[in-house]
Structures are given as structure tokens and as C-alpha cells.
């Protein structure tokens, strides 16, 4: 581990991140609200820290980065970005304690979307925009963006990319990682703009449309309204949101292929079929379950059922209905959705459909070999054999995910949070969803979680966003050994 090099790159990332604060500054300046000064101060602090780190370590050679260093840079980088992203909140006069500001910022970057704000609409426009904008940055990944834009990362960019996007089956769209990262960001931005246009067409104001697009595409779920999307109570908007949430839950390289003219790209991808299939089936069950019990018309049942299932399975976390009043079966399905999550290579969180699929295939193979002990079988994905090490990493991931979930839930309950809330808050944090059940349900917020509980959830959100390994590796003694 060459800490000098790590700190140098973290310094550059911080500098770069400071630059993005120009956008909320412009918004705050346009609305002439009181977010301008705190944002300026935050920007100055960010630049100063990043600049000092870079100046201090500028002579360090960073052309080659090892995998271990890549993980350290990404983990430290994300924590740093969470910290500096919290500054505009903390420095503002809107009463954020430090832990609250940090919680809000990390919840943004990790695209979780759980908030400690009790009244969102009273927050200044500049800060609201910042809140949405950091979700947008975090969705496709601040590291991926840096790799795309900062040329100096060069070869080392690949290790960073792998540490931030640890999908089991990586696919490079272009020979060079920089071009790949750039393409993904272009596709991401393009779809975001499409959503803004669609929302404007429905009569939403530009500010709200931009904010909502910035939180839909990263499957974040921050809203500028207290009542989330329910505020608009419009079937058109619900439809637009459902459509774009589903898009955000699909692997972005498929979007690229589709835009390049491979119209069957979505259908040909087995994970995408699985994701769309399971979403449709669950929508069907939930709608049927709430039809007659909660909603009297079939249209309403499908509209609210579909929105909520899509919102949770893509790990966005918008709400149009208080699903805690729904029958237990629907609630449990939504809880299940928190664990399934969206596709690998999408902006969604959770365990990811790909891993779930591979896990089922693995289970089936085990059962099959009980019946035919001498059979040689191979787990296949899209017609290709899945290498053993990929399978091992998937199983390890699922084990760690559930283990860390259980551990954190027990810890949170130990801090005095009730059963349902502890369970759901951790599931919603580690899966990057946002709203859970109980005291953190869709109509509630996270303000009342105890002090240490918030830190625990911050850690869970980072764990979930960087897909466990990049964060948990820091706790492994072997990682620190020389």
C-alpha cells in the first residue's frame, strides 16, 4: 500500500468534486436564497483540502495502481466525498447537526434516498438541488465520472473502476476504460434529459422536473416534495416515473446497445428478462392482493401496486401510497424486493438480479447432482459457462450481505429501535432503497434514529453502494499487513 499515491488521487478526486459544487451555487444564486454562502464555504474547504493533498503528494508516481490500492482509493474517496458533500448542509442555517448532514449526504451519494428532513419543502432551493444532484453523481458513480473525465488516471483508472463497479460479469463496451466510462455517462445523461422533457410535458416546473430526473435515474428517490411523488397525484407522472425507474434498473450497457440499433438487446439479455419478468409477476401479485382490500378499482390497484413494486425493486424509494396500510403479503413482497434489487450494471442497489439468478442456478445444480451424483454440469448464463471464481464471489457476496444485514439489524435494535424499524431500516440502507417499514416507513423519516444508529446506517449505505467487498476489506487484518 502506497499511501502517498492513494492520498494524491483522493486529493484529485476531492478537487474535482469541489468543482461540481458550482451547479448548486448557480441554482442558489438564481433563486437568491441563503444556500449561496454555505455552498461557497463548502466549496472553498473542499478545494483547499483537495489542493493541499494534491500539492503535498504531487510527486508520487501513480501510473500503476494495485487492486488493493484501487479499493482503498474508492473507499476513502467515497467517504471523503460524503464528508464534503455534507458541508453545504452542515454550514447552512437550516439546523443540520453534523451527523444529520453526513447522513443526508451519504444517503444521497449512495442513492439510498433516506432523509432526516422532517419538512423538505421548507429547505432552500439551492440545498434541495444539491441533494438531488449528489444522487445523480453517485448513481453512475463519481469514480466512473472521474475516470471518464480526468486523463491522468490512465491505466490506474481500471482498478478504480473495478472497485466501484464490482459486477460479477464485467463488460467493457470499448477497449479503453476511459471510453467505456464516458459512454456510460453519456447514456445516463441522455436518459436523464429525456425524463426532464417528459416531466415538463406533464406540467411539472423545470426545477422539480430536473430534481426528480436527477433522483430517478440513479434510483435514488430524494424528492423535492414532503409527500414524494404522491404530491402530484397524477397517473401520467406515475407512468413516467415507473418507466424511467425500470430503465434505471436495467444494465446501462444494454441501453447503449439499444441506442446503437440492437433493438433486441434487452430481450437477448437473460438478466434483463429475469428482472422484467420478476417485476411483472410481483406487480401482478401485489395488485391482486390490494385490489378490493385497499383500492376498489382494478386500475388504481395496478397503478399504485406497480409504482410501489417498481420503486422498491429498483431501489429508488419514491412513494405514491403508504404501503404500510396494505395487506401483510404485499408488505412482505416489498420487503423481498429490497433484497432482490435491480440489474447488475444498473444504478440500482440490492443483491442484484444477476446474483439471485446465479444463486438459483447453483442451488438447482446442487439438487441435480444429488439425483445424478456422477453428472458433470456447468452453470450457464446466456449460453456461456460461468467460471467458478465468479460463482464463488457471488456466493460469498450473498453470504456477506445477509450476514452484515443481520449483524447491523441486531446492533440497531440494541440501540433501542423497535423490531420492524430496525429490520427495515437496515434492509433499506444496505440495499440503497430509502424508505422502509415501521418508524422509517414511506410516510416517516430517519430523523428520530439514535445518534450511533445513524452512523451505523451510513456505514450500511456505503457497504451496499460499493457492493460490500470494497468497504468490508478494510476490516480484514490481512489487508493492512505489509
Amino acid at each position: 500500500m502506497r499511501w502517498n499515491g492513494i492520498l494524491k488521487i483522493v486529493g484529485v478526486l476531492t478537487l474535482f468534486f469541489g468543482l461540481t459544487m458550482v451547479f448548486p451555487l448557480l441554482v442558489g444564486w438564481y433563486y437568491a436564497d441563503n444556500s449561496v454562502m454555505p455552498t461557497l464555504e463548502a466549496m472553498a474547504l473542499t478545494f483547499a483540502t483537495g489542493g493541499l493533498l494534491f500539492l503535498f503528494f504531487r510527486r508520487t508516481e501513480t501510473e500503476v495502481i494495485t487492486q488493493r490500492e484501487g479499493m482503498a482509493i474508492v473507499a476513502i474517496g467515497w467517504t471523503a466525498v460524503g464528508f464534503f458533500g455534507a458541508l453545504p448542509f452542515y454550514l447552512s442555517a437550516e439546523g443540520f447537526s453534523f451527523v444529520d448532514a453526513f447522513f443526508e449526504s451519504v444517503s444521497g451519494f449512495t442513492t439510498t434516498g433516506s432523509s432526516i428532513l422532517t419538512s423538505i419543502e421548507s429547505v432552500s432551493k439551492g440545498l434541495l438541488f444539491w441533494r438531488s444532484f449528489i444522487q445523480w453523481l453517485g448513481g453512475m458513480g463519481i469514480i466512473v465520472l472521474s475516470v471518464a473525465i480526468l486523463p491522468f488516471l490512465g491505466v490506474g483508472g481500471m482498478q478504480l473502476y473495478k472497485a466501484e463497479v464490482p459486477t460479477p460479469v464485467p463488460d467493457k463496451l470499448k477497449p479503453r476504460i476511459r471510453d467505456t466510462a464516458m459512454l456510460l455517462w453519456k447514456v445516463y445523461a441522455l436518459i436523464s434529459v429525456a425524463q426532464v422533457v417528459m416531466l415538463l410535458a406533464g406540467g411539472m416546473s423545470l426545477f422539480d422536473a430536473a430534481n426528480h430526473a436527477f433522483t430517478t435515474l440513479p434510483t435514488g428517490g430524494f424528492s423535492t416534495k414532503n409527500a414524494s411523488v404522491a404530491h402530484y397525484n397524477s397517473a401520467y407522472f406515475d407512468g413516467v416515473f415507473i418507466f424511467f425507474m425500470v430503465l434505471a434498473g436495467i444494465n446501462f450497457s444494454l441501453h447503449y446497445q439499444f441506442l446503437r440499433g440492437r433493438t433486441l438487446a434487452f430481450w437477448q439479455d437473460s438478466e434483463c428478462r429475469f428482472f422484467l419478468g420478476i417485476t411483472l409477476v410481483l406487480i401482478g401479485i401485489v395488485s391482486f392482493n390490494i385490489y378490493g382490500t385497499v383500492y376498489q378499482s382494478i386500475g388504481e390497484a395496478i397503478r399504485y401496486g406497480a409504482f410501489q413494486v417498481v420503486s422498491i425493486i429498483t431501489t429508488t424509494g419514491y412513494a405514491t401510497a403508504d404501503y404500510e396500510t396494505w395487506p401483510a403479503m404485499s408488505q412482505l413482497i416489498l420487503l423481498l424486493c429490497m433484497f432482490i434489487g435491480a440489474s447488475a450494471g444498473s444504478t440500482g442497489g440490492g443483491m442484484k438480479c444477476l446474483r439471485i439468478m446465479l444463486y438459483f442456478k447453483f442451488c438447482y445444480k446442487e439438487l441435480f447432482s444429488l439425483v445424478h451424483p456422477r453428472a458433470i454440469t456447468q452453470i450457464k448464463l446466456g449460453g456461456k459457462a460461468v467460471p467458478d471464481d465468479v460463482m464463488r464471489s457471488v456466493l460469498g457476496f450473498l453470504g456477506l450481505y445477509t450476514g452484515l444485514f443481520a449483524l447491523s439489524a441486531v446492533l440497531l435494535a440494541g440501540l433501542g429501535v423497535d423490531f420492524t424499524t430496525a429490520f427495515a431500516a437496515v434492509a433499506a440502507s444496505i440495499g440503497n432503497i430509502g424508505p422502509g417499514f415501521g418508524m422509517v416507513g414511506p410516510a416517516e423519516n430517519y430523523a428520530h434514529i439514535p445518534y450511533f444508529g445513524k452512523w451505523l446506517l451510513i456505514w450500511c449505505m456505503l457497504l451496499g453502494r460499493l457492493e460490500i467487498y470494497t468497504i468490508i476489506i478494510f476490516l480484514v487484518p490481512e489487508f493492512w499487513r505489509k
Binding site: G154, V155, M158, P170, K172, P175, R176, I177
Partner: protein
Amino acid sequence: MKIVIIGAGEVGFHIASRLARENKDVVLVDQNPEAIRRVTDSIDVQCLTGSGSSPTILEEAGIDKADILLAVTDSDEANLVACLVADILSPTTKKLARLRNAEFDRYHDTFSENAPHIDTVINPEIEVVKTIERLMSVPGAVEVGEFTDGRVKFIGVNLDRRAPLAGVLLSEIPAYIKGPRPLIAAIVRDEKVIIPRGNDRLKPDDLVYFLSEEEHLLDTLVLFGKHSRPLKRVLIIGGGRVGYRLATILEEKGIYTKIIEKDPRRCSELAEQLNKAVVLHGDGSDQGLLAEENVKDMDVVITLTNDEEINILASLLVTRMGAHKTITRISKFSYFPLMSTIGIEQVVSPRLSAINTILQHIRKGKVLSAISIKGEQAEVLEALALETSDIVGKPLRDISFPQGALIAGIIDNDKISIPTGESVIAPNNRIIIFARREAIPKVEKILTVKLEYF
């Protein structure tokens, strides 16, 4: 520029990593998932697992948009088929293939004129024999490269403590020499490449790279403390394909040659094919045998077995026993930095030779030859100064030449000169450029920039 490489072996891997560092688009294809993983773990290229001769895989690799296809798998047949398929799918792609079987030697031209249309066939064994010949011909040279068809040599020598030039300031060199002076292009000191200026001093144990015309070469080498001795007796340890090729050439030149080979059957084959050379059956690291065969009188001992550890040990052994010079064949690149430390100066590697040859063909523009030196930290390029390129027709000091690169020589109708700030490059002059790795993409651009308008 997009390059598709078939085969992620040592050669494929190295070329891929070189080109990836120069920001070229590289797609690497290999059947072995392990080899692919080694690549994805360390270099920024796109990888495909599958057969390089499969049309589907080649299409997936984007062969239609590729400028160059490089077939360097371990199998000659696979390389040929890959080129053939690529020729059908994308006839405009330039194709380079590695063919090791000597039977193909006579058909290299046939392959380029007929069906697979392979633009360049590379046989690493031929390349390595050429390298050995060059090393033998220049006393004391660690590296020998040739420009303008051998009339200008690019030489790397370790500076002796007692050499006339040891400890001399570069700007003082003209005072020491009456005749034409050597053009010192670079110094490698403590594993670092230095592009020297007038106030740099040559220190003992420096590895000095210089350019020299062939006729002045021997005089120049004396300045570096290297005295020539006639080449009369050569011992080759290892009678494989390279050993055999080399022995035939030495026989033709009338040099007294001995070959030591372990395998008795191979020995009788060699004895049958060779006329004058003495074929000895035995172990190349057997001290008794070496003493019996008067190794101390050998001008050069070349160790060419397939086992590089044996080669290294045999070279050390014969040096201790009094052989004047050794040339050692090594394949593992990770051993290269060790060699000078343990006292082995002259090293050849079929893979490195293949890489050098391939690089010449990949370099854009009018690059005539390219030699990479010292752990690939730098390259020496010989290029034709095109009439339309930016470097022609004005004094050098007005040209913004990339940092880390240097014009080491200008060749105008066989006359080689050291450029100064006032020198002007005339159209169609050949220039020799020394460039550090990071400057290479920019150098390429300077050489070709205007060409791209056509």
C-alpha cells in the same frame, strides 16, 4: 487506432500493455480464461474469451474497424486460420502473424501475395538469430540495432572504468576525438533512462547508447574501452531450432563451431544436417565436458537451451572458466533487470525480438524501424521525414518537439549528422528519434499529422 491481438501469451500480453499505455484501442482474444484474467487484472484493454479463428469472435472483437490484426498464439495453424478468417471479414485490416515452423520460411512472400494476405510474417527464431549475429559482430555491445539497412548502428555498451570516455563531460567529448564522434543518444544509470545534455558526465558502469556509422564503429568502441577481437571459435549450448539455424550461418562464415546438446537423438539429427560443426552429446553445465572442449579459448559461448535457468547458470559457469563473451537466451521478462547484476550482459529473447519486429510494423506513419531499449522504457525510431510533416524545412529550435524525445541523428544521403538547434531537416531525410515511452504517442503524431489530411 484499433488493434486486435489473438493470443494472450507473453508476446501478446506485452504488446497489448505497451499499446494500451499509448492510448490505443486494443482488443485481446484468447481461449484460455486464465490468460484472459491475467490481462484484465493488469491492463486496460478489452478482452474476449474464445478462439481467435472463429468468425463470430473476430466480429465481436470489431475486426471490421481494426487497423491491425496480430496473430501471436502458440500455434502456427491457429495464427494462419485467424489471418485467413480476418482476410475474408475485413480485407483492409493489416495482418501480422507469428509463424515459428521453419518449413514456412520460404513461403513468407507467398502468404502475403496469396490467400491469407499476411502483410508481415514474423518468425521469432529468425529474428533472434539475427540479433545474436549482430551482438557477435560488435564487441562489448549489450544491444545492437541497425538503421538504414545496417549502415548506421545503434549500440548500447556498458562503460568500462578504464575507458577513455569514462568520467568525461559530454561537451568535452569533441576534444578527445579526432575523427567523427559518436552521437550519444541516451544513458541508462540506476535503471533510469537519461537523455543527456552537454553538462552531463559519462560515469563508469553507465549503459551508454550511441549512434555510429558502420565504418567508424570499431574506432568508436575503443573510446568506450571495447576492443575488437576476431571471431574464430563459437560454442553453442543447446541444439534446438535456434541453435541449428545459428550453427548453419556460422558454418557458412567459416567460423569453427561446436554445439552441445543433451538429447542423443537430436545430436544425430544435427550431425546429419551440419557439415563442419562439431556436435557434442552432453550437458551444457557439465564442467568436465566444458573443460575438455577448451571453453576458455572460445570467443563466444551462446546458451540457447529451452530452460532459461540452465542458460543463465551455464553462461556464468563458462565466464568463470574463461570464455571471452557469452550470449544468453532468456524468455521470462521478469529476469531481465537481474541480468546485469549477476554479471550477464548480453541477453537475447525470441519474444523480445518478435515484439520489436511487431512494433516496427505497428508504429504509424513513415517509421522505418523501431527498437525498444532497457525494459521498454524508451524507443529509438528511424523515420522518414515527410515533406508534409511539421518537422521539415525549418530550424530544429523552431519545432515544438515533445518533451522526453530527441532527434538523435539526421541522415541525408548516407551522411549522418548530429543535429543542432540550427539544423534543418530536408524532405525525405531519415531521422533517428530517441523517445521515452510517454512521449511516443506525440512523436507518432508529429511524424504523421499532415499525412492524415490525404
